[in-house]
């Protein structure tokens, strides 16, 4: 079970452990890395000790007992009963995220035809999908790369759109606007336990970006193979393409008597992706998504960012426990592995900010 991680439940608006539960720290009666009162770094909440007041709060350098019902509130979590501005904002954002994701999915899947396919989107979404509104930036980049030997062109519009989105919000689009990420989030909710991935696996995305999206189409293009004839390409290996284009056209083929038009390989790829999404949180985003990797490079300089507030930190480690992407939030938060889902902001010590000239 060492390589399994279980995501903490979403804190409810009120104390979920009952009337005396700790709302600030996630609301469970007992939690902590070791779940033991006197073990190092352990944090134990005691919602039942309300009647004993402040005396029931035990604090040592390594262990903390939270007592939300005490007159002073939960001393370990800030003592305000979860009503501080940062925490409240974090919870509001967390509650609204699925709705925002659904709204963006509706935007990308708007049945407006293909007339907007000349404009690249900023999320991973197959432009061969019958309902796609905008062009897939990854597919467009690979096509430009394959075209390089024949007609070298610079994708100004694509670079501009991605640069604006990345410089304004970093990888915020991954966590809030990507329809493929939303789908993986939904699939991930079906199984509570997830396999933890080592941090280095996030670098595979850059290998995909350089190798599969840029270099391979160029090399095959120089060999005279057009992009749509390249048997190995990002579009042929893309699970989003299998799901959003291959699956609808295959269903249509079945209905019209043409049979299953998607290749066996791509069908298998789709099944493997769905299975992986059940046991790994956002497997495509974490392992292979070249667009997410590109946007996340700007997390360190983007105008929208996350800021750590040491005054609010009570060392409860809730920020890191809530991070389903495996980011070591307790060390640095504006890193390339972050999709800016803002789940870590529920602890109150990490705040979403927008950079201003005044700092």
């Amino acid at each position: 079970m060492d390589n399994l991680e279980q995501k903490p439940k979403e804190p409810a608006a009120g104390p979920p452990g009952g009337p005396g539960g700790c709302a600030d720290c996630g609301g469970e009666a007992v939690h902590g890395p070791q779940s033991t009162v006197h073990s190092p770094q352990s944090t134990v909440h005691s919602p039942q000790s309300t009647a004993q007041g402040p005396q029931s709060t035990v604090q040592s350098p390594q262990s903390t007992v939270h007592n939300q019902g005490a007159p002073g509130g939960c001393t370990a979590c800030g003592g305000e009963g979860g009503q501080s501005e940062g925490k409240a904002l974090g919870r509001r954002l967390l509650r609204s995220r699925p709705w925002v994701q659904a709204g963006f999915a509706g935007l990308w899947l708007a049945p407006v035809g293909q007339w907007l396919h000349g404009i690249p989107g900023c999320v991973f979404h197959c432009y061969s999908c019958p309902l796609s509104a905008l062009a897939c930036p990854v597919g467009v980049l690979a096509n430009y790369a394959a075209l390089l030997p024949v007609a070298p062109e610079m994708p100004y519009l694509l670079l501009g759109v991605l640069l604006v989105v990345a410089a304004v919000s970093g990888s915020l689009a991954c966590g809030w606007a990507c329809p493929f990420g939303f789908l993986q989030d939904l699939l991930g909710k079906l199984t509570p336990r997830k396999i933890a991935l080592p941090a280095w696996t996030g670098h595979i995305r850059y290998a995909v970006l350089l190798g599969l999206v840029i270099l391979l189409p160029v090399v095959l293009g120089y060999k005279g193979i057009r992009f749509d004839e390249q048997t190995v390409s990002i579009c042929r290996l893309c699970p989003a393409g299998a799901l959003e284009a291959g699956l609808p056209y295959s269903v249509q083929g079945l209905l019209t008597g043409h049979g299953w038009v998607m290749s066996g390989f791509k069908s298998g790829l789709l099944l493997a992706f769905v299975a992986a999404a059940l046991f790994i949180h956002r497997p495509w985003c974490r392992l292979f998504c070249p667009l997410g990797g590109l946007l996340a490079l700007f997390n360190r300089v983007s105008l929208f960012h996350l800021r750590f507030n040491p005054k609010e930190c009570v060392e409860c480690n809730l920020c890191r426990s809530r991070c389903s992407m495996g980011v070591k939030v307790d060390q640095k938060v504006n890193v390339s592995g972050c999709i800016r889902c803002l789940e870590c902001t529920t602890c109150g010590a990490i705040e979403p900010r927008f950079a201003t000239p005044k700092g």
Partner: protein
Amino acid sequence: MLGRVQQPPVNPALRDLERHDFWAGFAAVLVGLVLVVCGARHLTSIETVEGGTAWETQLMKAFSAGGLQFPEQLVPAPPPKGDDPAALERWAKQNSQYSAPTWKVRVDAGATTPCPT
């Protein structure tokens, strides 16, 4: 009981605050906006089927709709087999105007192939 991932003890005092400089992000946004405007008004060097050169937006749309045409796709069909002189004459008439294209790739802005790959 709620399980949590194992993690080292944190020290808020030693932690990087990760302050963000506004001007770096702002400069990147400005560069991006310039690229967007230039890209939207950019005429590529690729011809269109109708004549003229393709806008960048037309080229991108062609990627998703199978709208790229290459010379090898327009090679005339081989002569019909058999001894039918009428068919041979028809074939010769159809291909009398054919000459090897001078372009390497061109854009068919009206293409609507749903999935080129």
